[in-house]
Symmetry: C2
Subunit: 439 residues, 2 copies
């Protein structure tokens, strides 16, 4: 039987559009009670027994027996050896990607991550001090979804922020190490690395053990156990977002070759069956060309079965009345990746309010952004771009307000604070302000 990929065909002019559109977008991050219970037990065990529990779970779940945590630490020399052992093309590509990602995040730090202060007319100093986190943990999945690019995208912003120690954890089931992941850790400047994973690795980072240092924040993607563990330790440590399935939305005016757009839809769909690829376009003829390109190009893909399952189950080709309407629908979706495959990308970009990353013009394939354009590929999914942002230097910094009230300032501010504090029934607050007022 021939593999076919037929994304749902919709038109905003159809009567049933709204219901069909909503149904296709629907995705629910329901939690699994069995996973939740297992994670509860694992977190408690690591909190109580530290290294011993981590060793036990690593033996049981990863098939990686070890007598001591030392056997589960990767020395810097091992990371470097992995890098040195790569083909030259991979070494160069990793270094080139790392240099671009570093350069972009340095610009980000200059633009929005520096301390600032100013003085009022009365001499009162106000501002914010921006400082890096002391120590962060980076979770890197092992097995089939082991992505060296994710190591760069998590570790480099931390490094640029000035984080003192970057602790990487990566499970190596049955001892299988991914040389590209280890090499990326070398290139990105990871401080220490442990071959542990799952909820036990999250627990070790959040609580600390005799061997694994306690961190201040944990970032990086993982399976359902990792996601659940991250949610649980939030508050004890900071976490980044909890990612849902990956998504791409392409806005097309018909000016980009249909083959390119088809391949961009594939490149999202090949991640997994739940990934979502959507095309919005006012031109029915172009939509038909994209479907033809899908039919023609699909068979050449090694991951064609996953691509077809994703496009058939969650993909959509949507004809809109206009590019303006396409932009409005895009804002309702708030996609993770948003390509403006248009000859006039700067005409539409200002209309697009919610997206993790916006790729302007036909030459900007999402995959260039995934690997090496410079911006981060860790982006908000599942419509959370309505309120959250790409992973960035700011995720590895925190701010402290600075206030230095002058003697003169204490006179006027003291009177205001006194009135409001009495209004709230907080008399010690009022008295503290009043004491600084000269009689």
């Amino acid at each position: 039987m021939t593999l076919q990929a037929r994304p749902l065909r919709l038109s905003t002019a159809d009567a049933g559009f709204e219901a069909a559109f909503q149904a296709r977008l629907h995705w629910s991050a329901d939690t699994d009670a069995q996973v939740e219970q297992a994670v509860t037990d694992i977190l408690a065990a690591v909190r109580a027994r530290g290294d011993a529990a981590v060793l036990e779970f690593t033996g049981r779940f990863d098939g990686l027996p070890a007598d001591a945590m030392q056997a589960l630490e990767l020395a810097p020399a091992e990371l470097k050896a992995a890098f040195d052992g790569l083909p030259a093309a991979q070494r160069q590509a990793l270094e080139a990607a790392a240099a671009r990602v570093r350069s972009y995040h340095e610009a980000q730090k200059r633009a929005s991550g520096e301390s600032w202060t100013y003085r009022d007319a009365d001499g009162t100093l106000l501002g914010q001090k921006v400082t890096p986190l002391d120590r962060v943990g980076i979770y890197v999945p092992g097995g089939k979804a082991a992505y060296p690019s994710s190591v760069l995208m998590n570790a480099i912003p931390a490094h640029v922020a000035g984080v003192g120690e970057i602790i990487m954890v990566v499970p190596t089931p049955r001892g299988e190490r991914n040389p590209l992941v280890l090499a990326a850790a070398h290139v990105a400047g990871v401080t220490r690395a442990f071959t542990i994973g799952g909820a036990q690795a999250i627990a070790a980072l959040a609580y600390g053990t005799a061997t694994v240092p306690r961190v201040d924040k944990i970032t990086g993607p993982g399976n359902a156990y990792v996601a659940s563990a991250k949610r649980r330790v939030f508050g004890q440590v900071g976490i980044d977002m909890i990612a849902g399935p990956s998504e791409i939305l392409v806005l097309a005016d018909g000016s980009t070759p249909a083959d390119w757009v088809a391949m961009d839809l594939f490149s999202q769909a090949e991640h997994d069956e739940l990934a979502q690829s959507i095309l919005l376009c006012p031109d029915a003829g172009y939509i038909a060309q994209v479907q033809q390109a899908i039919d023609r190009l699909l068979p050449e893909l090694p991951r064609a079965a996953i691509v077809a399952a994703s496009l058939n189950g969650r993909g959509a080709l949507i004809q809109t009345r206009s590019m303006d309407e396409a932009c409005a629908i895009s804002n309702r979706i708030a996609p993770e990746h948003l390509e403006i495959a248009s000859a006039e990308p700067h005409r539409w970009e200002p209309l697009l309010r919610h997206a993790g990353a916006i790729f302007l013009g036909g030459y900007t394939s999402e995959s260039l952004g995934d690997y090496c354009a410079g911006p981060n590929h860790v982006l908000p999914t599942s419509s959370t771009a309505r309120f959250s942002s790409p992973l960035g230097v700011y995720d590895f910094q925190k701010r402290s307000s600075l206030i230095e009230v002058s003697e003169q300032g204490a006179q006027s501010l003291g009177r205001i604070a006194s009135v409001l504090a009495h209004g709230e029934g907080l008399q010690a607050h009022a008295r503290a302000a009043e004491m600084r007022i000269k009689p």
Copy 2:
């Protein structure tokens, strides 16, 4: 019986210091299974039945029966009337505080909240677009802890960020409205306000009902039910931090009047019995003076019983070997509020790495910052200043990466992306990059 407040006396030179210090800091945010179950039920009911469920819970929990949601909305004219009805001193204090808070947050937006772009040598454009959230919800507690200053501190940064609609919810048990809270909503420019609270208000904001619009993020403090509900809806909407008990740490070199420092410790302790006030000082004589001031000033406080309970249960006066050691201990605590009661505050400030807000010099009482200095009084508690920041304009903005790869840029970037994508086994990613390379 005379009320006494005797914070724990410790010295870093004592053998038992470390254990006593750890024990005093310990605070656990354990969740209550009964609260969790009630919140689960309330969220599900509001999600399924909307307004009807909100009306039912408001009648049951707040003793505020109503036939329709319209009865639970506060019209803008009612907010204005509350403001107009205040004594002139309160009106002026609210407006003065709001003006200073607005001015500070405008500076914050200029310093770290603007969009930026740059172009590479090959013409590739990179940057980030910073946009406000469309609609946010602000939770304001009712009853005994109804703080109008919190309305300003939550709504004004949202307003400065450019948020389109600010929806306030505030429970009014048995119909009791706090005029200062309503007046603050008027001053801060709240768009709509509802007299609903608890988990049902959080659910209404997160899911939307026929009457209450769905928001993108919810900020503001609340009781255990509100905190639990916020945790549960996180992902559906953004949330701010989940706050623990309030804390102050005073670093003193002996140059600030002991009475002032005692009153600053009181002003934190008067919030509730779990609030924590700690003094770090190398001078035993000065610590004794602060204890004497505590003894002398306590009886004059209306909330003396709460202050005494807080100081006796969680307070500490700690003698350090030096100011340097005091700074090091402060970094271990990562306090919400950190006063440097020193003649040389700028000598010590660079040593202080973790704090929500730093108050420099003897004139800068925490209470000035709580009400009107300008910076936000919503700050990270329970040591989360290690990884999180004061509420700010940035909490009401999100960022979208911008990438526009030039034709020339697609040639070099395409080759890098192709190598890395093949290395990860993602061939569609590789093909999408390769297609843009000129033969």
